[in-house]
Subunit: 340 residues, 2 copies
């Protein structure tokens, strides 16, 4: 029921994602049966693999998470409970981010050993994609959390993107070891001294993000949220300027027609719909957030993110790797030169 | 002597800036006389208004600030001392940022009442320019520092950009009052309750930066540095993609030629050279940093930033306004609802 368009976009998106996964998905749709049923009828491919769980309650977009988590009858809450109870392997929602995060944390809880779940997303870069986390689930972090984010991100890059030893960078104001606040230097020191599923690359700066220097970028949720939105904003402004320029004169218009094909490729390369699907990593259950304003293609991409995490057994890999990391730390393989 | 090109770029840039200021600048060039003198000879406009202060010491780009501040014979140190002693009204350098900041702080000290100076810069947005600070001088900030940054930025927007009551936003992960870490909420509470030279707008998000919702964006140096570099990186990646696209086929190439004029305007609108010139605001003396890789036009822009700050009496305005703000706070006009 969430997002700007509700089932009118979610149902066709489910059909599209099913096609991409060669039919290896089945769905439970939580929400208003009166809106969902007629739509389902239009998509024959969803027949037989779809179930409707009627709910009357809906979490609105401006509802406070603290209020939303107390309501037991919402589509959001009931869908998450289906994951908790094993009736579904993942939940995808285009609804209220804060409510989704709070309810998922409350119902699903963290995987053993995980201090706090993180919001992660895949970003386009000059050299392929990069996964970045945390993007806003934890505004204030400690070094241990950044270390766990590095594990969560590395396992994602390995099992979903197929990168054997993902390069992991910590976002910082400089690349030199002595740069940055205590928090990032302490996390760097730990990652240098433990064995984890990634390869610790070092600090990366803001402009290294778009360059794609590393496969995984780790940061606190405050910085990550702002960095992601700055990138979106600049990208949007640039394409606004380009559109304006191409409409500014007759030769420019003709130029746009001639270069149309090539320009479309650029647009596709940075298409936010392709990169849609924020993952709450570290929960005991797969939970993916779609942007609220996404169209059918965009929402289908978020569904695929969830499907791939389930298919690749992401959570059992993470549980295993976090246990190994914790074991090293409790066995006294302590970081050297930690800043007091 | 600083930057990637030294006097070979700085001297012609000085001539160009002089032209822009209708001759209302005079220069003291600190550095190697043997390199500066022949160059000066080529620019007749600089004759009679330029002085060379020969120095043998140079701060290299990889020199640690802690080492640089102990050297008394460098062009950087001696140029800053000229400002301290009133022989110059401002210092512009394309050299080592950390060394410039540390030496300027040590020699010039802060204006009365200023806790810490901030690095500020002007950024292009959809609706004109925005000044943003801190961009990396203070990685960890408290609420009082953010409040002072708001004053520093507002006075800049008023006296240099001519905006009567500049709108001031604090960078945050959401626009609602209850969003964000204690630091930003406390600063917001103070700015809501005091009279200062700007108009407190509220929280702004990462994507609001490019939109230009406000005239002044306030943030801590860690977040600001990363946000600025993310914007630079995305901007660079987009233009790289565009170039690649325009070279990818014959029709695209022809399109680029036809739209050339319009595309140049876009490029100019986001030209980093135009926006060159990081200001260390809050010091008892004007200090401006040029990017090291800038060409003649870029360095001339940084010189003009310094010239405008001097011409508009920025520092005496700031000293006055900071005193007023401090007075309100010590008189018990305390922020309401501060988070404990």
């Amino acid at each position: 029921m969430g997002g700007d368009f509700g089932p009118e976009v979610v149902i066709p998106a489910a059909a599209l994602a099913l096609d991409d996964m060669s039919g290896k998905i089945s769905y439970i749709f939580f929400g208003d049966e009166n809106r969902i049923k007629p739509l389902l009828g239009k998509y024959k491919v969803l027949e037989g693999i779809s179930e409707i769980h009627h709910t009357s309650g809906i979490v609105t977009n401006d509802e406070k998470p603290s209020v939303a988590i107390r309501r037991k009858d919402t589509s959001l809450r009931l869908a998450i409970e289906a994951v908790k109870e094993g009736r579904a392997q993942s939940i995808v929602s285009a609804g209220n981010t804060g409510a989704l995060m709070a309810t998922a944390k409350l119902v699903l809880r963290c995987l053993p050993g995980i201090k706090r779940p993180a919001l992660a997303s895949v970003l386009p870069t000059r050299q392929g994609d990069t996964v970045m986390l945390d993007l806003g689930a934890n505004l204030v972090c400690d070094a241990q959390m950044l270390v766990q984010f590095a594990v969560l991100g590395s396992v994602y890059a390995r099992v979903v993107k197929g990168i054997d030893t993902p390069r992991v960078g910590i976002l910082n104001v400089g690349s030199e070891d002595m740069k940055g606040p205590d928090l990032v230097r302490e996390a760097a020191s730990i990652l240098t001294n433990i064995v984890f599923p990634g390869d610790y690359y070092g600090f990366v700066e803001g402009d290294d993000l778009a360059e794609g220097l590393v496969d995984v970028v780790v940061t606190d949720g405050f910085t990550g949220n702002i960095a992601l939105k700055v990138a979106e904003g600049v990208s949007k402004l640039t394409s606004h300027y380009m559109k304006e320029a191409f409409l500014s004169s007759l030769p420019a218009k003709m130029g746009a027609v001639l270069a149309g094909c090539a320009l479309k490729k650029v647009k596709k390369r940075m298409d936010p719909r392709y990169y849609n699907g924020g993952m709450f990593l570290g929960l005991d259950g797969i939970c993916v957030k779609s942007h609220g304003g996404m169209d059918v293609y965009g929402v289908s991409r978020a569904i695929l993110v969830a499907a791939h995490l389930v298919e690749q057994g992401y959570n059992s890999e993470v549980a295993h790797e976090i246990a190994l990391v914790m074991n090293q730390q409790s066995n006294g393989i302590e970081p050297e030169g930690v800043i007091a």
